[in-house]
């Protein structure tokens, strides 16, 4: 396994990000070479994937993710995604991707108005994405959530579209936040941009209760490595 090349994966850092280092550490343990990239950068380094971490970018002012979407680095991420690059948004990163229009839908305050911080049971609806290839379709995953605004919303038309295209990748077994359709994670139409509210980077060590997060992040590392090898 050590002979396999370590794909570089960018982890963006916004003012207010707080899971950037956890994400980098988790990626490193899963065999990637993480690179922290500051939000003011106009370009991305040569990487196989980009991760937008959790946190409270720009203090969550106005709406979660609404300000971060104007960060210079987001333009670079948009170009990267348009070229088919792999982009993963976790929690606040998911909110940023929705606000930026890179993912469909929006995230609203939890129906309970309470910040929810606990392990949740999820179902992987698809195993044929670059973010879930280490899972089996229908597999149960336990990964923690910690958010106040994770209530996914899509209007009826969009919801129909998501279902038709198979864009719902993760669902909650018990809806913790009022998300429509119990949606916990969605991919874009092309399948190269994925956002989820649960935090896979907090579930990569048995000491923390679950290692199911490694299924998501490990899939991303595999896909980034594959791209590295194909490009070489």
């Amino acid at each position: 396994m050590s002979a396999e090349p370590a794909p570089r994966i960018a982890v963006l850092v916004f003012p207010g990000s707080n899971d950037d280092r956890d994400a980098a550490l988790a990626l490193e343990r899963l065999g990637a070479e993480p690179m922290l990239v500051w939000h003011a950068e106009g370009d991305l380094p040569d990487v196989g994937a980009v991760v937008l971490p959790g946190g409270f970018s720009y203090g969550d002012y106005l709406r979660c993710g609404a300000i971060a979407r104007f960060a210079p680095v987001l333009e670079a991420v948009r170009r990267f995604a348009d070229d088919g690059g792999l982009v993963l948004g976790i929690c606040n990163g998911f909110q940023v991707l929705c606000e930026a229009g890179l993912l469909p839908g929006a995230l609203r305050p939890n129906a309970s108005l309470e910040f929810v911080c606990r392990d949740v049971d999820l179902r992987a609806e698809r195993a044929d994405t670059p973010f879930t290839s280490r899972a089996a379709a229908g597999q149960a995953l336990t990964i923690p959530i910690k958010h106040g605004e994770g209530c996914y919303f899509a209007d009826e038309e969009l919801l129909g579209e998501l279902d038709r295209n198979g864009q719902v990748v993760l669902r909650y077994e018990q809806n913790p936040n009022g998300s429509i359709g119990s949606i916990a994670g969605v991919v874009n139409e092309h399948g190269n941009v994925f956002g989820l509210m649960p935090h896979p980077e907090h579930a990569v060590d048995p000491l923390l209760g679950s290692t199911d997060g490694a299924i998501v992040l490990g899939s991303l590392v595999d896909a980034a490595r594959e791209r590295l090898l194909t490009a070489a």
């Binding site: 609404a66 929006a106 305050p109 108005l113």
Partner: protein
């Protein structure tokens, strides 16, 4: 020129803040059937006639001040 932007959750969008406010008002004895909580943004603009200011603010709402998927907005201009 001053402008006031009202941003509201669209009808049908779950508004837990509004529900909490409604419940509290009812608890206080107010006969409130529904409460929805939005946001007010006060802006000051210079120059520009009302028409172009309105068009400009509409772009500002679409791009940043509101999320058109879940929020509606109203622009009021005041000389």
């Amino acid at each position: 020129m001053k402008a006031t932007i009202l941003v509201r959750p669209k009808p049908g969008i779950l508004d837990p803040q509004g529900e909490a406010v409604q419940a509290s008002l009812r608890q206080l004895g107010f006969a409130i059937d529904e409460a929805r909580v939005g946001r007010v943004i006060d802006l000051e603009l210079n120059g520009a006639d009302a028409e172009s200011a309105h068009a400009e603010l509409e772009r500002a709402c679409e791009q940043l001040l509101a999320n058109p998927l879940i929020e509606s907005y109203e622009i009021a201009l005041e000389r």
